[in-house]
């Protein structure tokens, strides 16, 4: 950061204007959602805190499983709160990954946002840890195993292992185990809250990251506020309300639909399984966001080096790499073509994470000999690296031109993941002919084919570079009035439908959850219409 930028930031900070900062108008327009992935994580976190505090009134560490089941089945609205607390955590983790990847690919870790990036990676680590403790607190058969594995890995830490095990998991008795896990679940949430405040303050301090073209794809990318910016209140505040409503709507609707669906796989079941120590025949999965470490335990190499070191290599090393990115990629360009290694490693990282997770889900506890492990890592790594470097080379030397390179990268990454998924599913599908594998394999193959078509199309159209024409979707104001009136009418109908549902019957609660989610969605849409007609956003 030059002294001039530093002075500018200090000047903006000392200006008596309210936090949070004003933002450029395009961040609230169509497609502006990509600038607000962090806000979505924040709202998911907020949802978790609120529902978590409610569950805290009922959860008993001395009767973990019984109190969880009781809350789920007998407490009014308990099922909605507990299942959405679980899926809210899933949403927070998924959104966190989205936020991380977006900022990785746009180069947001560069000057002046190094500390913001590092605090974000720490937030990822803490969020996964909170997720682990929360998942383990139900005391079901899967949680018991997950706890055992977590304990075992902690205890294997050299020198301080037994202390770590004691501090995090208690003295071995069941009562102290759940008391500690509840404690850490809350303490870590508090730490996330504090770290998030720092993360948020840094975002304000460094200014919100604008379009990279603002600084001609060069660091430091600082938003130089102009007088054309609309004030934070009411424009941005109302936009935040809209994002919050949509985020809450998704967190409520998805698990409620899952509750209503029959035969949901164990991995995505919104309910606890049977109690620990009772008969259970399904695969012993960890929570899905830890499937990649779980699969790594099946590797031949992992059985030689012990689970602790396997965790260090397969989960710790990527984390350390993420922390080091701002120190490794130091040039002053924000363009992806000038950051070929970081971009390639990011795409390879996605492929490893998704690949290992699918592998773990399909072949739980199947021993994998070292040559196969090597094949997985080397083939995917080398192939993707070469592909990405080739793509970057051809873009840089104007062999291929894209209107919007970012979109094409994302498209290519999605194609890669989808193709890999198809391949992984095709093998068991062809061997076993089980619908469990066949149907997703066919679906994924179709998605892959579609993505490849899109890839080709995006490259074709790019040959003739033409300016983007603004998509005009402006309707007459009266149409908006009619739509909003209809939405409110629908909301009232939904309210009438869900009010008589019994809040202590899980299936009816699922209906209530869907209805409530739809009400949130309608509210969000009403806010959107208001912004469109009144603010022209």
């Amino acid at each position: 950061m030059t002294e001039k930028d530093q002075n500018e930031i200090i000047k903006i900070l000392n200006d008596p204007q309210p936090l949070p900062r004003k933002v450029p108008d395009y961040m609230r327009r169509r497609g502006g959602m990509w600038y607000w992935t962090g806000a979505m994580v924040m709202f998911a976190f907020l949802y978790e805190v609120i529902t978590g505090l409610v569950i805290l009134f009922y959860y008993q560490p001395t009767a973990a499983y019984a109190s969880t089941e009781n809350f789920l089945n007998s407490t009014p609205f308990g099922s909605i709160i507990l299942t959405t607390h679980l899926y809210g955590a899933y949403a927070m983790i998924a959104l966190l990954y989205l936020h991380l990847l977006r900022n990785l690919f746009v180069g947001a870790y560069k000057k002046p946002r190094k500390n913001q990036w590092i605090s974000g990676i720490l937030l990822l680590l803490m969020t996964l840890a909170v997720g682990f403790f929360g998942y383990s607190m139900s005391g079901d058969v899967l949680a018991a195993n997950a706890t055992g594995v977590g304990k075992g890995i902690a205890a294997e830490t050299p020198v301080i292992g037994s202390y770590l095990e004691g501090i995090f998991f208690g003295n071995g008795t069941t009562a102290s185990l759940f008391q500690r896990m509840l404690g850490w679940h809350i303490v870590l949430v508090a730490l996330i809250g504090i770290t998030f405040l720092g993360h948020f303050f840094l975002a304000e301090y460094n200014t919100i990251m604008p379009k990279r073209s603002e600084s001609n794809y060069r660091t430091p990318l600082v938003d130089r506020e102009t007088s054309t910016y609309r004030p934070w209140y009411p424009y941005n505040m109302i936009y935040m309300v809209q994002i919050a409503l949509y985020t809450f709507a998704a967190i409520l609707i998805i698990p409620s639909v899952v509750v209503a669906l029959p035969g949901v796989p164990t991995l995505f079941s919104p309910f606890p399984q049977v109690a620990a120590g009772t008969s259970f025949t399904g695969p012993l999965y960890p929570p899905w966001f830890l499937l990649f470490v779980y699969k790594a335990m099946d590797f031949q190499v992992s059985s030689i080096i012990d689970p602790f070191w396997a965790t260090v290599i397969f989960a710790g090393a990527p984390l350390v790499y993420l922390l080091l990115i701002p120190f490794l990629d130091r040039n002053n360009s924000l363009s992806m073509t000038d950051r070929p290694v970081t971009v390639a490693l990011g795409i390879i990282g996605i492929a490893y994470l998704v690949g290992l997770s699918i592998w773990g889900a399909l072949t739980p506890a199947l021993f994998i000999p070292d040559p196969e492990v090597l094949l997985f890592f080397v083939v995917i790594g080398v192939a993707l690296f070469v592909l990405v470097e080739l793509a970057i080379w051809s873009i840089k030397h104007r062999k291929t031109r894209f209107r919007d390179p970012a979109k094409v990268y994302i498209l290519l990454a999605m194609t890669g993941i989808s193709a890999f998924g198809t391949g992984s599913l095709a093998i068991p599908s062809l061997i076993t002919f089980k619908p469990v594998y066949d149907i997703p394999a066919i679906l994924l193959a179709m998605i892959t084919a579609y993505l490849i078509l899109l890839d080709i199309a995006s490259m074709r159209t790019a040959e003739t570079v033409r300016p983007m024409e603004p998509v005009s979707s402006d309707m007459k104001p009266v149409t908006y009035v009619l739509i909003s009136a209809f939405l409110v009418f629908a909301a009232i109908v939904i309210l009438f439908i869900i009010t008589p549902l019994n809040p202590s019957v899980v299936s009816q609660e699922a209906g209530y959850g869907i209805g409530l989610g739809l009400l949130l969605f309608i509210s969000g849409t009403l806010v959107k219409i208001y912004r469109k007609t009144e603010y022209g956003e």
């Binding site: 304990k151 075992g152 071995g172 099946d298």
Partner: protein, 251 residues
């Protein structure tokens, strides 16, 4: 408005070095506080150890009826996990009556069990009972601590998930952990058959009283029970000082 704040006077070198000295002193002061607080916090957070002082001798009884377990109460090659906690409440153990593929009792002799993790060996106690076919071991997997029903006995000839080399006719009766696929041989002192575990299951030493046909548990031999610094600590002592309750987790 123009601020009329007084600018700090230009430093002379002595002032600068005094300032850095004071800064270092401040940092050291805060450092001392941090060390003192961290020490207290960590020591406070490490839980008190719980456990018992010696292996008790307990009669095995049915948890529901309270009647002592007799040989006929045990099914040969029972696929359900028959377990009892010993020597602490969170230390489950298998109680197995082993047989061949046609369901006849097999006498189990003591076996020199290898511990791949350390390279050491120990002698397993062998079977007890009228047919010397009843054995017992810790039911906590030595790899990462999974417990029944995740880890259990697969009787001879049955399929073990994800273990083609040890399934069907190749299965001579193994204990397999479904968490990560570790396999143990109860006929050979619960020794390691396949990884990822590097340690056999600790054996439980049983005694059979021929006059009353009852079983008692005396102590344990082999590696330490998984997740414990020693067999006798890291859990609450059993509630009874005379009997150990045997329960069944159906398969």
């Amino acid at each position: 408005m123009v601020e009329t704040r007084k600018e700090p006077e230009k430093d002379n070198p002595a002032d600068a070095s005094r300032r850095s000295f004071l800064k270092v002193m401040m940092a050291l002061g805060v450092g001392a506080v941090t060390i003192a607080v961290a020490r207290g916090a960590i020591q406070n957070l490490i839980p008190q150890s719980v456990g018992t002082s010696s292996f008790p001798t307990l009669t095995l009884v049915n948890a529901t009826t309270g009647a002592p377990i007799k040989t006929n109460d045990l099914t040969v090659n029972n696929p359900a996990a028959v377990i009892f906690d010993y020597p602490l409440q969170n230390e489950p153990n298998f109680l197995l009556r082993l047989g061949d593929s046609s369901g006849n009792d097999v006498a189990i002799s003591p076996y020199n069990v290898q511990i791949p993790a350390t390279g050491g060996t120990f002698k397993s106690p062998g079977g007890v009972g009228p047919y010397k076919s009843v054995v017992s071991s810790s039911a906590v997997c030595q790899h990462l601590g999974c417990t029944p029903p995740s880890i259990h006995f697969y009787k001879p000839g049955t399929t073990i998930p994800n273990h083609p080399g040890h399934s069907g006719s190749a299965n001579t009766g193994f204990i397999n952990c479904n968490c990560h696929g570790s396999t143990y041989d109860p006929y050979k002192g619960f020794s390691v058959v396949t990884g990822p575990t590097k340690s056999p299951l600790p054996s439980v030493i049983l005694a059979w009283d021929s006059s009353s046909d009852t079983y008692a548990v005396n102590s344990m031999v082999g590696p330490t029970i998984y997740g414990h610094s020693d067999d006798l600590s890291g859990g609450n002592p059993l509630s009874s000082s005379s009997q150990a309750d045997v329960t069944t987790i159906s398969d």
